[in-house]
């Protein structure tokens, strides 16, 4: 207890020195926390962007569809499955989809297009497709339109069609027939050629089922959970609940495997840059602690000359520095939390949007979580403790007369 009192007293005795040291440690801590916040935030926002715009959090397919998607790998969604999905407490919303491709003909030009058929009402609850409509109307907002479709902006430029115009589709039907029909463009989605939706055509599920001769069969159920972090656990839970060997229930990490692997590799690489920041933080703390300890060599010499045991001096230095570091981290946490919160709400806008694994994002967001405070806090305190050992040993072993002479 005495040593703790002395440590506090020492810190308060040289207020300006302690303040300077504390501010340095605090600055280093905040830097590390914000760096981690942006790192986690960027990945978090990427995942949200991916899951909110296309994949959802968990998907259900017929076995084998994910490995080799095919028009013929479809399944029927029974009432029982629908009820099980509706009753699951972690499932916020779910929707059904069909995928295919077709030749799309405008008045003068044609192109191959990826078709994504959605249930307009349910899809809006799972993904942000409605928000992506930049011209015209969303599928469910149209009435009395024959075969309404939303066309991706890139595709729209390619085949030169406008909202209200008709396009012709030719594709393969699930019964082997040549699927062909006319469709009406009711809206344009996507911003550019980089995002996935700019190259797609969205059409209502019912129309696609008729066009592709699929009856009431579908290719995919997309599920939205409370948070993307729950995906693996809830996919497992849904797999057990559905208990259907013909169906494959997978989290977004498996559905978007390429994206996830690239992100994990990137995250590994990112720890190198975090390591550099940790090194800088460590060096700053080392210099601060050394400066603090060596400035007090005279004081320690006097204490040793008066008969203070070297062990006491050692413990005192280590405790003082660790205490100072703890206090700096505590105060710094408020600033770090505030800054991370600010940037998690209103991130840094990017002049040029970045494309990552087919997902385009235009602002860097921070993540305000416990880990972005805890990791830098533990790191800062541990580093301070470790780097304080050297000056503490050196001071405890000092020859009193030499230490007194050093001033």
């Amino acid at each position: 207890m005495l040593i703790l009192k002395l440590a506090f007293r020492n810190l308060l005795r040289h207020k300006s020195r302690s303040l300077l040291c504390g501010l340095t440690i605090m600055g280093a801590f905040i830097l590390f926390s914000i760096s981690l916040g942006f790192s986690d935030g960027s990945y978090g926002s990427l995942i949200r962007m991916l899951t909110d715009t296309q994949s959802g959090h968990v998907q259900v397919h017929r076995q084998g569809y994910l490995e080799r998607p095919s028009l013929f790998r479809h399944f029927q969604l029974s009432q029982e499955i629908k009820q099980q999905l509706n009753d699951h407490p972690q499932v916020q919303a779910w929707t059904t989809r069909i995928f295919s491709s077709a030749l799309v003909f405008g008045e003068k030009k044609s192109s191959i297009a990826r078709l994504m058929a959605v249930d307009p009402d349910q899809e809006s609850q799972v993904t942000r497709i409605r928000e992506k409509v930049k011209a015209g109307k969303f599928l469910s907002d149209t009435t009395d339109v024959y075969n309404p479709i939303l066309i991706g902006s890139h595709l729209q430029k390619l085949i030169q069609v406008k909202v209200g115009e008709e396009v012709a589709f030719i594709g393969q039907g699930a019964d082997g027939s040549v699927a062909n029909d006319l469709f009406t463009v009711v809206g344009i989605v996507g911003k550019g050629s980089d995002d996935a939706e700019s190259r797609r055509v969205y059409l209502p599920l019912k129309n696609a089922q008729e066009f592709l001769s699929l009856g009431d069969r579908i290719h995919e159920v997309t599920i939205r959970l409370d948070h993307f972090n729950l995906a693996r656990k809830e996919a497992e839970s849904l797999r057990n609940i559905l208990n259907n060997e013909a169906l494959d229930v997978q989290p977004w990490q498996v559905v978007e495997e390429q994206f996830y692997k690239a992100m994990m590799a990137d995250q590994q690489g990112n720890w190198i840059s975090q390591g550099v920041i940790m090194l800088i933080v460590g060096l700053v703390i080392l210099i601060t602690v050394l400066m603090n300890a060596f400035e007090r060599r005279h004081e320690f010499g006097v204490l040793l000359a008066l008969g203070t045991p070297p062990g006491f001096i050692f413990r005192s230095i280590v405790l003082e520095m660790t205490l100072l570091s703890g206090l700096s981290v505590l105060v710094g946490s408020f600033f770090a939390y505030g800054l991370n919160w600010y940037y998690s709400v209103d991130g840094i806008k990017l002049e040029t949007p970045l494309e990552y694994g087919g997902v385009v994002f235009n602002q860097m967001l921070s993540e305000n979580s416990m880990s972005v405070l805890l990791i830098p806090a533990i790191f800062s305190i541990c580093v301070t403790f470790l780097v304080a050992l050297y000056p503490a040993i050196k001071s405890a072993r000092a020859v009193p007369i030499e230490a007194i002479r050093e001033n």
């Binding site: 013929f72 003909f105 030719i170 019964d175 040549v178 062909n180 001769s213």
Partner: protein
Amino acid sequence: MKHVLGLAFLFFGFSFSAFAEASVEELLDQMDRLYRSDSSHATIEMQIVTENWERTTIMEVWSRGMDDTLIKILSPRKDKGIKTLKRGNQMWNYFPKINKVLKVPPSMMMNSWMGSDFTNDDLVKENTLADDYHSKLEPHPSAPEQFYFIALTPKENTVTVWGKLSISIRRDDLMPVEQVYYDDREEKKRVMEFRGVKEMGGKRIPTVMEMGTLNKKSKTLVRYKSIDFNPNFSENLFSFNRLRRK
């Protein structure tokens, strides 16, 4: 060339006059000559069975010589009115629902025709077997006393994906029984069987043909409903401009 014994059966009738012992040249010549009916008009049913789906289509087929063929789908209702026009070695598909005529590009010639086991290429080939293949009469592997067996290998300038063809022909009435398509490594790829020999349109023909694609586990059955040889039809039936008409 393949269609001479393949889809050619769809469009042209044939009849053989049985003869005691024939040379390979005579057999091929007889067949080629018989396929070259001046014209024909047939109604056929095509049943396609695959691992994933099964579909039956009724079609009306007009042909003139080896060059011109017009196929119009009568049912199912969803496909009604879809037409395929073949002129020489060119081919177009017409889709009435979207009022579009699409030319089948050379790159798609080996693609399936209307989801069947026949390729577009089967339809457009216009040369005779004798033109495109070296032929050799061999003993039939299992029943030499019942069947002729012709082995055909492509000539140097023949454009084909097949490394070899073999045709089995009944000795008694000279009706084809089976045609096998092999790849370059002499592996069987497709087998066409001929069944249901009966008189139709004044000639004895196999009225059922079954084409099986071995690696796809699918088959296409073609059944003649009726056939009329050398009927009268309009001169411009096979014109491109008439394709869009009902």
